[in-house]
């Protein structure tokens, strides 16, 4: 399967199953597009008709070039992964390597668009005790088998509302690293309200990554991200974020925004983040019920797709000016990205990755917390709901019928199980709107890498 598209002045041919990327001229673009559909004589005739300045000999040479790429396995490569997809996922199953610790099901902000229902996950307000958190870390260590790198995300609600426990849990994990042969990598996801010098020092010492929630323009941010008195939080948090990022030397963080129906023109919000001095950026489409006023609409879709293209243009321009910035979804390493195991298996929710509630219940991921039918067990007794876990273990890109003909499937692994469930009622469904956004993001990401690669040449 190939995917041919034009973007940023480049003609790009992506060979799906080999992962190869070719940048081609107009004639080659048309020839490759037709190559599998007709014989060589008809192809040459069609090209001579369209490109009168190109000779027959040149076109025959082009056919030979295409054939050589095909023989080399970098064009029209067959799908050899479908029959072994289950085996591929199995190799990475049965091992837990990451936990999302919900250390606080409460929040000091009251954002109406929050997928976690203002941090409560449709339940009661609660914070995680040290004992529950410690048990969760023990559960992770015991179930991680030979994996050395273990990830723990302090999440909420607002995790800094339970900062003392966060500090104690990090100290406990560090105390067990050496004896267990593990390397903990911690992430803190925060709205910034409670950031102070103590938090900054601790985060810079212990957190591999810090995710900071900022929606961009002040008026956009303050529309949703308000405190319980209804006051916007932008003015309070931006200086704190700037101080924290400066103390981290501008590295190992993401400024993460959410865009909604209110700001499908989110490029302006990214530009605001840049103006504020932030360069490691992420901007996510809102996740909410379709009837929520903040939900993205079909009418928003073309606007958002155009914004993604303009964002790619801006990134290339800034890269060429020596002022690069990172956009999380455009990070793609064509030479050293994920292996086919990862590409087939997906995010690992419910198998490699689980969320832990303040009272120790295990769920397949943070987005399933509060969905009682998906409760897997708890950190004291381990996974007891093997039926649900088996559903997640069987979930891979080839288990989703809608993904069969999609060129982007080895870049998304079939997408987010939670989004699929909320959109279709099945974790093996697909969230079609999200797919449209994802495909555009991948086109932009690959174009950016291609353009940079050509610049270097």
């Amino acid at each position: 399967m190939i995917h041919c598209y034009k973007l940023g002045g480049l003609n790009i041919v992506l060979d799906v199953y080999s992962g190869s990327v070719h940048v081609v001229d107009e004639v080659a673009y048309d020839m490759i597009g037709m190559y599998q559909q007709c014989d060589r004589e008809r192809l040459v005739a069609a090209m001579l008709d369209k490109y009168p300045n190109v000779t027959r000999d040149e076109l025959l040479e082009g056919c030979e070039q295409i054939e050589q790429l095909k023989q080399a396995g970098v064009l029209f490569a067959p799908d050899t992964f479908a029959p072994i997809a289950g085996q591929l996922k199995e190799k990475t199953s049965g091992v837990v390597k990451a936990l999302c610790l919900h250390v606080a099901h409460t929040c000091n902000l009251n954002c109406s668009y929050c997928f976690a229902s203002q941090g409560k996950y449709h339940g009661d307000r609660a914070v995680m005790s040290y004992e529950v958190g410690k048990q969760a870390l023990d559960f992770l260590i015991e179930n991680s088998k030979g994996r050395r790198n273990l990830e723990v995300d302090f999440f909420g609600g607002e995790p800094l509302m339970n900062f003392d426990v966060v500090k104690q849990l990090v100290a406990y994990a560090r105390s067990r690293e050496k004896e267990c042969g593990k390397n903990f990598r911690f992430t803190l996801t925060t709205n910034g309200v409670l950031i102070d010098d103590d938090v900054i020092d601790f985060a810079n010492r212990e957190m591999s990554n810090v995710v900071l929630s900022l929606d961009g323009r002040r008026e956009v941010h303050d529309r949703f991200r308000v405190d319980h008195a209804g006051n916007g939080s932008w003015e309070r948090i931006v200086p704190k974020f700037q101080k924290l990022v400066k103390a981290r030397q501008g590295k190992n963080y993401y400024m993460r925004g959410t865009f909604t129906h209110a700001n499908p023109d989110f490029l302006k919000d990214i530009e605001t983040m840049l103006e504020l001095g932030f360069t490691e950026l992420s901007m996510e489409p809102v996740v909410c019920a379709p009837d929520d006023p903040s939900a993205l609409t079909p009418e928003d879709l073309p606007i958002v797709l155009e914004q993604y293209e303009k964002l790619a243009e801006l990134m290339l321009e800034r890269h060429r000016q020596g002022k690069p910035f990172t956009f999380y979804h455009y990070m793609i390493d064509l030479k050293g990205g994920p292996c086919i195991y990862k590409r087939v298996s997906g995010c690992g929710s419910g198998t490699e990755y689980m969320a832990v509630t303040p009272w120790g219940d295990l769920y397949p991921c943070h987005q399933f917390v509060g969905e009682e039918a998906f409760k897997l067990g708890d950190v004291f007794h381990g996974v007891t709901n093997h039926d649900v876990q088996s559903e997640f273990a069987a979930c891979n890109v080839y288990s989703r019928p809608e993904c069969a003909d999609c060129w982007a499937k080895l870049y998304c692994s079939g997408g987010c199980a939670a989004n699929a469930y909320h959109a279709t009622g099945a974790i093996t469904g697909v969230y079609a709107y999200g797919c449209d956004l994802f495909r555009k993001r991948m086109e932009c990401a690959i174009m950016l890498e291609a353009a940079k690669s050509l610049d270097e040449q």
């Binding site: 080999s18 992962g19 190869s20 990327v21 070719h22 940048v23 081609v24 001229d25 080659a28 040149e58 070039q65 790429l69 396995g73 992964f81 072994i84 591929l88 190799k91 091992v95 390597k97 990451a98 997928f115 790198n149 990830e151 995300d153 992430t187 993401y254 993460r256 996510e284 996740v287 999380y328 979804h329 990070m331 390493d333 064509l334 030479k335 050293g336 990205g337 994920p338 292996c339 086919i340 195991y341 997906g346 995010c347 929710s349 990755y353 991921c365 987005q367 080895l410 870049y411 998304c412 997408g415 987010c416 199980a417 989004n419 999200g434 994802f438 991948m442 990401a445 690669s453 050509l454």
Partner: protein, 46 residues
Amino acid sequence: MKIQTLETKNLCQSAKNGGCGECQTSCQSACKTSCGIANQQCESSK
């Protein structure tokens, strides 16, 4: 006619030598609300 082939990871080869599982879980790093694995780093090729 011009075709430039960029250097990319050989996915078929990675079926033979991949799957160490040491890489980051996809949702952990920043997004939390949408799955994509393309932007994850491979630990063994770092």
